[in-house]
């Protein structure tokens, strides 16, 4: 699998993401600076990593969404390429119109840095096939603006078309209000694009890939990608 992480000014979880991809695939991903106008040939996966692109000023992800490279990412996705956006990356994908909805301030108006549990809503996508159906896994969340919002029609469409990827749940798997710390609509932690090839999520599974650090709950996501995107 050939993966590239896109680095914007202010991106800060690109190293974490590179470690996770390396662990799952045995290969170090490329790092691409946002000012590049094109993606490398033969790319399988483009990753928008977490952080504070442009300082999170204005709205999280708004300025990065207009970077030169985002046009290339959009075209890559249109051609069927896989794109993963985590945290700030998810915010960028929404601001760029590649995923529906928006991420508002956390309902508590505070930055939330803590563990959360997520339920895998379908385990038949390139991002989730290593998870057993209905799997619940733990990940770090670290964001100030993770409160997913979309209008009712959009939310209904996401649910109806199976495009909700992950929901905040209790460790036992229940989507309760207490499990939904940032106030996201319908406990949504992550969503897919219509063709299931673009995924955005707020928490950081890349921080749970190493038994020496904090367990390997997040590893199946990266292993799924490695399995799905075996390429020349």
């Amino acid at each position: 699998m050939k993966a590239a992480i896109i680095v914007f000014p202010g991106t800060n979880r690109e190293r974490d993401m590179a470690l996770a991809l390396h662990r799952a695939t045995g290969r170090r991903p490329l790092m691409l600076w946002h000012a590049e106008a094109a993606l490398p040939r033969g790319l399988d996966l483009a990753v928008l990593a977490g952080g504070f692109s442009y300082g999170d000023y204005l709205r999280c992800g708004a300025m990065a969404a207009h970077s030169p490279i985002m046009r290339a990412v959009r075209e890559f996705a249109a051609r069927g390429g896989h794109v993963l956006g985590v945290c700030n990356g998810f915010q960028i994908l929404c601001e760029a119109g590649m995923l529906p909805g928006a991420l508002l301030r956390n309902a508590s108006l505070r930055f939330l840095s803590m563990d959360c549990h997520m339920r895998v809503e379908r385990s038949d996508t390139a991002f989730t096939r290593r998870f057993p159906p209905g799997a619940v896994f733990r990940a770090t969340m670290a964001h100030g603006d993770g409160n997913y919002f979309a209008d009712t029609a959009t939310l209904d469409r996401l649910e109806g078309e199976g495009l909700v990827a992950l929901r905040y749940v209790t460790p036992a798997g229940e989507a309760t209000p207490e499990a939904n710390r940032n106030g996201a609509a319908r406990n949504i932690a992550g969503i897919y694009s219509e063709n299931l090839r673009v995924m955005g999520l707020m928490p950081h599974p890349e921080n749970q890939v190493d038994p020496e650090i904090d367990g390997t709950d997040g590893l199946p996501l990266f292993q799924s990608l490695a399995d799905s995107l075996v390429a020349a």
Binding site: D16, F52, D56, R110, F111, S113, N207, E212
Partner: protein, 738 residues
């Protein structure tokens, strides 16, 4: 071009010197050095360089007593940060710094810029910052002002640290009314560098370019005294705040750009622009190298129009650095800084004149010989008055008014012992993917070094109520507790940074506290092989004549060869519990005494440094031998609080054994004797035998269970879940309860 600065009229100069805080004899020295009256810019430079903050004039004579050497020390105090070797050719670079006053004026920005400043001190030496910690003291938690400051400070630390992507992995918080008008915000940064690639601030090479990088210069933070005097701000439409605003986004770019340039060999010397920005960075870099320096302020990137030389030299705008480059390397460096969208300007040259010469708009605004600026800087051995030693409190003379279970429930919920989760939940502690022990998980935070098995153990400690009662014992205890916390995760303590927060040094009793605290710290550093490699002094922490508690905050750094060796404090069920160290039931200055008996008195617990070292080395060896499942030191609240903290962290319970006869139970369970650890092990017997052989006091304390209750020797049982609920509720109720 006129090549001599225009002196101020002499009466005006003398009056301004006083306003800028120069004492009459200090001003006489300025006149002697220059041989004439100073220009406004020159006076500004002298006043900031000779301020307490930059010159350490009251504290220097005492700080010399601190041990600063060890075979692993690469750079002790005197540079931007301390540097120690941590094995495998790696170095840890770290320092702690205060932003107390700014955090009182504007808590969010004060704390945020404090984090930004200490980060720069570390990455300026070539180290990538890998962890932040913070030591905080606030006033009475019942006051709305305290809550407002706490809220702003925590948001500010998170706002800056989270954005730059450096995990905040630990810290400490105390409350006491002595901090009502004077909170303490001490921030520590730890970075990792290659030991053979440290960058220093020593400028060399006549003709080498002086380069300014980072954000533009504005009129931020120019000291209050000057701003109040309207003559120097002709266009003062509104009273300008002296508050500095942090821009963590620019800092992140500055870190990356500096790291990229440091991969080349273009840099001769580099220093961040901290307090007194351009002045202190240029004076110190040239001074350290025995050089002269010429600056052309027209080239300085400016955010505002019409700035004077005086304003530019004193501005404390954030996110700026000054570098000396090798000749001809400007273009290469400029390309890197432009890529990261930062300002870059060549603003001067090194000379062999030994003078700092500042030009602006065709005029020489300052021309000062550098050697006397440093060598003639004031140095005071201020009078000291010793704090009278309080009498030792006899534990048997203090009755227990509430019983053990009730006291425990109250203690774990009191502001000084309650869970800090509400705080650390706002700090990104995981970014970087290397945090193996995050806040609350262990006595020290544990952060692995990327691409290595090796890890750092990090902590900050100080118990101000001990320091107030007996500054010498308190200083000793602060160092010992940091050493103990690092030991308790299995790491080898290597060195400390300190942040000396005290009141007005012109008062003999305050200077006495300072001198005694240093004496205690020095004794502990020497006995524990735990030298001081960097630090910061913050004096005049007083409001309306009332000083804060003396607070020598210690930041400790240790190393583990393998991150997998680290143990946490969460108690697993099915273990035996062993108490290492001697228990005498010391209630003087304990939290039990304050919270339960309502008394703040007595001598603080003494630290027996030989026992401290012996006990700690024993515990560390057992941990590294893989024999320990969990470990926690006994500190605030004593033994039963330590056991409760271990139980609350896992949800397990414990059945505890009877205390030795002769001690009142409340003194046994809540006394704060030093040098003690609680260990959870599979089997107590081998540990006890080894302790006996090593001459280390150790006793079986009980066993841990899967039932979530602490069962006391008399059979009374305390629910761990309800303890935890009380422990967790305090800060949220205080801060969100409305």
């Amino acid at each position: 071009m006129t090549d001599a600065p225009s002196p101020l009229p002499s009466d005006r100069a003398a009056q301004l010197a006083a306003e800028f805080g120069l004492k009459p004899d200090e001003y006489e020295r300025v006149l002697a050095i220059l041989g004439r009256a100073p220009s406004l810019t020159e006076l500004g430079i002298f006043s900031v360089m000779w301020s307490e903050h930059c010159s350490y004039k009251s504290s220097r004579v005492w700080l010399r007593e601190l041990p600063t050497k060890a075979p692993w020390v690469i750079q002790g105090p005197g540079e931007n940060a301390g540097v120690i070797a941590i094995g495998e050719g790696l170095a840890a670079v770290f320092k702690m710094e205060s932003h107390n006053h700014p955090s009182f004026i504007e808590p969010y920005q004060g704390a945020a810029t404090g984090v930004g400043g200490i980060l720069r001190d570390v990455f300026t030496m070539g180290a990538r910052p890998v962890a932040n910690l913070n030591a905080l003291r606030f006033g009475d938690p019942k006051l709305p002002l305290t809550r407002r400051i706490l809220d702003g400070v925590v948001r500010g630390i998170g706002g800056y640290g989270n954005c730059v992507g450096v995990p905040t992995v630990g810290g400490e918080v105390n409350f006491h009314p002595a901090y009502n008008g004077n909170p303490l915000v001490n921030a520590m940064t730890v970075g990792i560098a290659r030991a053979d690639r440290i960058f220093y601030a020593r400028a060399t090479g006549v003709g080498n370019p002086v380069v300014y990088v980072g954000s533009k210069t504005g009129r931020d933070g120019i000291h209050g005294a000057t701003m109040a005097s309207a003559e120097f701000s002709a266009d003062s439409e509104e009273k300008r705040p002296t508050v500095q605003i942090g821009d963590p986004f620019s800092e992140k770019l500055l870190i990356e750009a500096c790291m990229e340039l440091m991969e080349t060999d273009a840099i001769v010397a580099i220093q961040d622009m901290g307090a007194a920005g351009l002045t202190s960075s240029s004076v110190e870099m040239a001074g350290k190298g025995g050089m002269g320096i010429e600056l052309d302020l027209d080239a300085v990137p400016q955010r505002e129009s019409g700035m004077t030389a005086y304003e530019m030299m004193l501005s404390e705008s954030q996110e700026r650095m000054l570098m000396i480059l090798k000749p001809g390397r400007e273009a290469e460096a400029e390309r890197i800084f432009r890529k990261w969208e930062l300002d870059f300007a060549v603003i001067g040259r090194l000379t062999d004149s030994g003078r700092i010469v500042i030009r602006h708009q065709g005029r020489v605004e300052a021309d000062i010989p550098l050697a006397p600026l440093e060598s003639e800087a004031p140095l005071y051995r201020r009078p000291t008055a010793e704090t009278p030693k309080p009498p030792v409190l006899d534990a048997a003379s203090v009755p227990d008014p509430v019983g053990i279970p009730a006291a425990l429930e109250r203690l774990v919920a009191c502001p000084d012992l309650c869970s800090r989760r509400w705080i650390w939940d706002q700090y990104d502690s995981m970014v970087g993917g290397q945090t193996a022990k995050r806040p609350g998980a262990a006595d020290a935070a544990v952060v692995r070094i990327e691409d290595h098995a090796r890890a750092l153990a990090l902590t900050t400690d100080c118990t101000p109520r001990y320091c107030a009662a007996d500054p010498e014992e308190g200083g000793k205890q602060a160092v010992a507790e940091a050493w103990r916390n690092i030991t308790a995760v299995g790491a080898t303590p290597l060195a400390i940074t300190d942040n000396m927060n005290f009141g007005n040094p012109e008062k003999p009793e305050i200077m006495g506290q300072f001198a005694a605290a240093v004496r205690g710290m020095a004794a502990a550093c020497a006995a524990l092989d735990f030298p001081v490699v960097s630090g910061n002094v913050s004096l005049y922490n007083e409001t309306e004549g009332r000083a804060i508690l003396p607070t020598p905050a210690i930041g400790g750094v240790g190393v583990l060869e393998r991150v997998t060796q680290a143990v946490g404090l969460a108690l697993p069920p099915g273990c035996e519990l062993v108490l290492v160290g001697e228990t005498r039931g010391w209630l003087g200055q304990s939290l039990w005494l304050r919270e339960i008996a309502g008394r703040e008195e007595g001598a603080p617990p003494p630290v027996d440094l030989a026992a401290e070292r012996r006990n700690g080395e024993f515990v560390r060896a057992r941990i590294l031998a893989g024999a320990v499942r969990a470990c926690h030191d006994c500190s605030d609240g004593g033994l039963l609080v330590a056991v409760a903290e271990m139980a609350m962290a896992s949800g397990a319970g414990a059945v505890l054994e009877a205390p030795p006869a002769g001690l009142p139970p409340h003194a046994f369970w809540f006394g704060e004797d030093q040098g003690r650890y609680v260990l959870a092990v599979a089997e107590a017997a081998p540990l006890l035998a080894a302790a006996r052989a090593a001459g280390v006091p150790a006793a079986r304390l009980g066993r841990s269970t899967a039932e979530g209750a602490l069962v006391l020797p008399d059979g009374r049982s305390i629910s761990v879940a309800s303890l935890r609920a009380a422990h967790e509720a305090t800060l949220p109720a205080l801060m969100e309860g409305g």
